[in-house]
């Protein structure tokens, strides 16, 4: 298979990447693909078992679970990407400053990063959502991002510190390149690959964290086709209507598994030492 890049030759990574591509496609095309809207149906149609009319059955509000699982790709991918956009940019900025700037400033930034790293993610998110007093997807995104940037800052700091010492940066410096240029041209590209690996793995972790928050009672807005919320809300009907919990649960599982497989693949590609071959 000459055309495939190396990491994709691992069948599991291939499957994972395929699922991710499918996930993004579903998120984009949900209105086209879904037979029903995410909230179409009435209480009269509730708890219909899986069948030709409703492939995954209907939920406690009478909504088509198949459609909701498809639409659910949107908040899953969306909130994940927003959290990542916030945390990678904040994390990269802090990391670059901490790693590149010498002295007290770098030290302070590092300590602030350490403080946020010290919080277990779910606990901090839980406290923040409660403090904001808003149980919306936005509140969850804010709450998760508050902790999530810290590992990126760590990664970027470590990379920056390592690269800073390397000769080519020294050389670039000595020929008078300005700091910003050094940062952009030399440090950032090198920090890029571990950040991408971490981000891929994190997309899965974010989905799991929002699901756990939903379980605790801090979910997205009522009626939102959010997988975590669907499982959390559906668990009280599980004994009689298994499909209400099963399908969104499977969606979570596949999405998270895919991001993990792809993340592992990306890591193998970027860091040959860790390759399991």
């Amino acid at each position: 298979m000459p055309v495939l890049p190396k990491p994709l030759r691992n069948p599991l990574v291939l499957v994972g990447s395929g699922v991710i591509v499918a996930l993004f496609l579903v998120a984009a095309l949900a209105p086209v693909l879904a037979p029903y809207g995410p909230q179409s149906g009435t209480l009269l149609d509730r708890f219909e078992p899986p069948g030709p009319r409703h492939w995954f059955g209907t939920d406690s509000s009478g909504f088509d679970i198949f459609s909701r699982v498809l639409y659910g790709a949107r908040p899953a991918v969306g909130s994940g990407l927003i959290v990542l956009a916030v945390s990678t940019s904040a994390g990269t900025a802090v990391g670059l400053l901490a790693g590149y700037g010498r002295g007290a400033w770098g030290e302070v930034l590092l300590r602030i990063t350490d403080v946020f790293l010290a919080f277990p993610g779910l606990l901090l998110a839980m406290a923040v959502v409660a403090a904001i007093q808003q149980r919306t997807l936005w509140a969850i995104v804010v709450a998760i991002s508050l902790r999530w940037w810290a590992p990126y800052a760590r990664i970027v700091t470590a990379q920056t510190l390592a690269i800073r010492e390397r000769e080519y940066v020294e050389a670039a410096r000595s020929i008078g390149a300005r700091h910003l240029r050094v940062l952009l041209r030399h440090v950032l590209p090198n920090a890029f690959s571990p950040v991408v690996v971490q981000a891929t793995l994190d997309l899965g972790a974010i989905i799991l964290t929002t699901a756990a928050l939903s379980f605790i009672g801090f979910g997205a807005e009522p009626g939102t086709p959010d997988w975590g919320r669907m499982v959390a809300d559906g668990r009280q009907y599980m004994r009689d209507h298994w499909w209400v919990v099963l399908f969104p649960g499977i969606a979570i599982f596949f999405a998270v598994a895919a991001f993990n497989l792809a993340g592992d693949g990306a890591r193998d590609a970027f860091d040959p030492r860790l390759r399991g071959e």
Partner: protein, 342 residues
């Protein structure tokens, strides 16, 4: 070595102080109408004078910096503030539930190490064998399946279908407590039962511990077994392993003594990080298995707007996590001479 530990300890103090500041901001700066909500918790009629009383009691109208002073004083005094919901010092409640969480976390950690290290080693030795595939599948499930989903499933299978566990949750069954009370020695039920020679109590405690420990351990098994596998693969190709083999050392000795000892290094580093998962995962696990731990207490506190309790636990979790990482660093430094003087 001592200098290294001292330096790390100083960092830890700074980090915990920072964590307390963050929790203060979350508890006192962000929320609106705190006095009104707490007054509502305390009395049926929220009149202006009740709100004024609560405001005074919790110094809510003082400047933030003064409030911060009171907050630190509360934490330092060992009471960790007074809960507006239960009216008790937060420390009393948390210390009552904390041993239970620690017991669950310890069991999950032991279980994870006991399962994942051998599994990782075997998977590395017999690549693409059924063990390797099974461990890969298990790792995927552990990483990707929501903990509460797994927990509900375990209850259904092992309690309802197979009947292998006595209760789908809780720490000890009532009959055990009535007939074979576990005497309080350390506060950890399994340990106490073992120390006092209480056989039925010990068995019952382990029986109740099994399912929550498994569901909490699963993501760790995933992490640790893959970690062990990949570092094992790396180590097995090293010169000294080849030398040992060439010298005619039995293969099992090469694997389990020579290679494993060195392959475990990365696994040790992950153990510190696992504490983060144990603290997070215990919240959901304790809810499913109605385990009387501090995670379940924290959720109750969050939903009843009991901010002194929430912040105390969040800060405590940060402390535990930092301590665990410090410990890992020390162990790592001790094991790996290259890092010792870093």
């Amino acid at each position: 070595m001592i200098g290294f530990v001292a330096r790390r300890l100083a960092t830890l103090v700074a980090v915990v102080f920072g964590a307390m500041t963050v929790t203060f901001v979350i508890a006192r700066v962000i929320p609106q109408n705190v006095a009104q909500i707490w007054a509502g918790v305390q009395g049926f009629k929220v009149t202006p004078d009740v709100i004024a009383l609560v405001t005074r009691q919790y110094h809510l109208n003082e400047p933030l910096i003064v409030q911060y002073g009171y907050y630190l004083r509360d934490l330092a005094s060992g009471r960790w503030g007074t809960s507006p919901v239960t009216g008790r010092p937060v420390a009393v409640d948390i210390l009552m539930y904390l041993p239970n969480t620690m017991e669950l976390a310890a069991a999950a950690l032991l279980l994870a190490v006991a399962v994942s290290v051998p599994m990782g080693v075997v998977a590395a030795r017999a690549r693409n064998s059924w063990v390797d595939q099974a461990s890969r599948a298990l790792a995927l499930i552990g990483v990707a399946a929501p903990t509460f989903w797994i927990g509900l499933l375990l209850q259904f299978v092992f309690y309802y279908w197979l009947g292998w566990v006595r209760d789908p949750g809780g720490m000890l069954s009532d009959s055990t407590l009535a007939l074979y009370p576990v005497r309080h020695v350390t506060g950890f039920v399994v340990l106490d039962a073992a120390l006092t020679g209480n056989g039925p109590g010990l068995l019952d405690a382990i029986n109740h511990l099994a399912l929550p420990a498994i569901s909490l351990a699963l993501p760790l098994v995933a992490l640790l077994s893959r970690m062990t596998r990949s570092s094992m693969l790396e180590v097995l190709n090293q010169d000294y392993v080849r030398t040992a083999r060439a010298k005619g050392m039995p293969e099992w000795r090469v694997t389990w003594r020579h290679a494993l000892r060195n392959a475990l290094m990365p696994t040790v580093t992950v153990l510190g990080l696992s504490t983060g998962w144990l603290l997070t995962g215990s919240v959901v696990t304790e809810l499913i298995f109605y385990w009387p731990g501090v995670g379940r207490y924290a959720v109750g506190a969050v939903t009843s707007f009991d901010f002194p309790a929430v912040t105390a636990y969040t800060a405590l979790a940060a402390l535990i996590f930092s301590l665990a990482n410090l410990l890992t660093d020390i162990v790592y430094a001790y094991v790996d001479p290259r890092i010792r003087f870093a």
